[in-house]
């Protein structure tokens, strides 16, 4: 392993770790307030979590596939998806967190205060 190798290794590692720390400190993770669902780059639905009185399940069937998303006052969970790799399954709770299903071109993100209470397109 040469000196240049080590330089590259530590250099890139440092830059990425710095970004990681930076984004965690600067963007203090607050609880998510609005959930936005985008499909193929276009907004599909958006909900204000605080307005929910009970758990809400979104059953989304698009030309790319089918998935189910459960919304609660404090979290958003992708519970089902018929994609191949299932890396989208999981829960997010904080602002800025994302759930992504690339085969379905699905993006679920949590944001701060939105302006709408509930919109479906």
């Amino acid at each position: 392993m040469t000196k240049t190798d080590k330089l590259i290794f530590w250099g890139v590692l440092f830059v990425c770790a710095a970004f990681l720390l930076f984004s965690n400190i600067i963007f203090a993770k607050q609880a998510g307030k609005t959930v936005v669902v985008e499909i193929d780059g276009a907004q599909y639905a958006s909900y204000n979590l605080a307005e929910l009185t009970e758990e809400k399940t979104l059953e989304i069937q698009t030309e790319y596939g089918y998935q189910e998303i459960v919304l609660t006052k404090t979290s958003v969970t992708v519970t089902k998806s018929d994609c191949e790799d299932k890396s989208c399954l999981g829960t997010i709770e904080k602002q800025g967190e994302l759930l992504i299903c690339l085969p379905h071109k699905l993006l679920v993100k949590l944001e701060g205060d939105g302006e709408v209470d509930g919109v479906a397109y």
């Binding site: 040469t2 240049t4 190798d5 770790a17 193929d40 780059g41 994302l98 992504i100 993006l107």
Partner: protein, 165 residues
């Protein structure tokens, strides 16, 4: 193409697909389709070092295509093809400039990082949002280690091979 070269490349391609397949069976937390340690990339690295840029590029794209068809799911093709192309190009440019001072390990680390940059860029285009780049720091850290490991494997195999001839 000489038959020997064609045969060798085909065998290496098959090897990389098998390695990739076994890796895909491991339940690893992956953000993007096919986000693994990428041990099969050590074979691509090997091709890159044994031959050159054009062979490695074609090899990489063939691997993306075949692995997508065989096990990773067709949508994975675009992401890994873009990533592979960018990564091989970056390694080639860097390798040409710093031929004396960099080894397979350093190049592989760069390759891994650029591979992820390529993947994220395509994902960004598909989802039409730059939000996906939020994943870059984490992917970057993982790819540095994965790249070093992959490069080390390729380097070891290369040294072994040169001792045989």
């Amino acid at each position: 193409m000489r038959t020997k070269k064609l045969t060798m490349l085909s065998l290496l391609l098959a090897t990389s697909l098998v390695i990739g397949f076994f890796e895909s069976l491991l339940p690893v937390f992956s953000v993007l389709p096919g986000g693994k340690v990428g041990l099969a990339n050590s074979v691509t690295m090997l091709v890159f070092c044994l031959f050159s840029f054009p062979e490695a590029l074609v090899f990489g794209i063939m691997r993306s295509l075949l692995s997508a068809v065989l096990y990773s799911g067709f949508s994975a093709f675009f992401y890994s093809a873009a990533g592979t192309a960018l990564s091989i190009f970056a390694m080639y440019m860097f390798g040409k400039t710093f031929k004396k001072s960099v080894s397979e390990i350093g190049l592989s680390v760069l390759g891994a990082v650029f591979f992820n940059i390529g993947q994220l860029t395509v994902a960004c285009a598909v989802l039409e949002t730059a939000e996906i780049f939020r994943y870059f720091p984490v992917l970057g850290v993982v790819s540095v280690f994965a790249g070093a490991l992959t490069g080390y494997i390729a380097q070891t195999v290369l040294r072994y091979l040169s001792k045989q001839t």
